[in-house]
Amino acid sequence: MTAAASLRTVLDEARRRRKSLVYYASTADEFVEQFDARNVEVRFRESPPLGPEPFAVIRDDGDDGEVRGVVPVATLRAFVEGPRLPDDGTRRLTPEYRAVLELLDDTVFASLDRRQLLLTSREFEDRAWRVGYGTLHVGFQTPAAFRAQASTYRRLAGGSALDVHVYLVANDETDDEANEIPSIPGVTVHTEPASEIRPYWFLVFDGGGTTDQQFALVAEDRDDGTFYGAWTYDPSLVATALGRLPTPGDDFGSADDFGSTDGTR
């Protein structure tokens, strides 16, 4: 299996995990359509007027499954309508956003936009940073996307013992400047093999050897500016995502694996 195939497998496996979301409110609105996830059955349930603010109950395994959590719909709406980046220029996320990330793991969203992925990536980068060690794999798609995050990754790798591996694909049709790759201590950049991982925006963290801090965010570019994607904390799915990514000590030599580094270490 190639690295791209194992990333795809994470999405396929997550999609098999059915969830249900029951949306309680006194009047229906567009939220049911807005919540566009492939493995979640969303239903509206009318509640009497003068009741609670609209809320949602999320269960595993369909209607009879265990309750995962209950949240105000406003919390979920802030995510599905597109979260706002903090005005103060910090990387701080709102508690609401964190709650969504806790509650909606293994949920396969049909169309995540770049802003949603950027904020979600921030949260996961922070988690890896807080652990402070372990291996973090990050798929940037293009050199330009990596350059835009260079200062973040300088802090991430410089301020921790994290072993960061970055994957990207140079564009043959543009000039050298567009393909320039920043050199950051503690970050190993992989540019081979190229085209098969081009569609994937991903962050996979091995948890520094413990399973409770592991995560994988995998999103597939749909060529229309949106991504089909999910995040997971499930050790077996994280293991699948890690499957074809180099582990510390690998010589990255086999034809199926990612190729050599650019020698930044």
């Binding site: 029951v22 309680y24 006194s26 349930r45 509640s47 009497p48 007027p49 003068l50 009741g51 609670p52 603010e53 809320f55 109950v57 265990e66 309750v67 995962r68 959590g69 209950v70 949240v71 105000p72 919390t75 508690p95 609401e96 964190r98 709650a99 806790e102 509650l103």
Partner: protein, 137 residues
Amino acid sequence: MVDDGDPPKQLTALDTEVWNDVDDAPSTDALFRALANRHRRRVLWYLVDDSETTIAELADALVGWEASDNVIVGPEARRRVYVSLHHHHLPMLSQADLLTYDADSGAVRLTTSSKPVEDVIRFSHRYEHALARRDER
């Protein structure tokens, strides 16, 4: 103003026809004991609008209320609400002849159809809502 369906107008009006409608009503003490708890008031108010439901849905609704003030309510908190409904509130309301609760199927059904009882349930809910709004001001 949100439409409350059928708001009580004059609870104490000397309308003999309405006040005869107490055949299946609980005793005065049982009714007001039932209404002396926030969870039970909410359960009764929910049932007045939708007389047949399940304990699972009532637990969802009660937790949904709490969720309004929180970012997220987890499975443990919901479990506690479910258990308190099952062991305490629903048996008590059933004893008061206000509803039936089938512990096997989870079905909950409002049994009283007394207009004065319905009015006092709506009244107590509306009163609580008004006080909550006052406290927000």
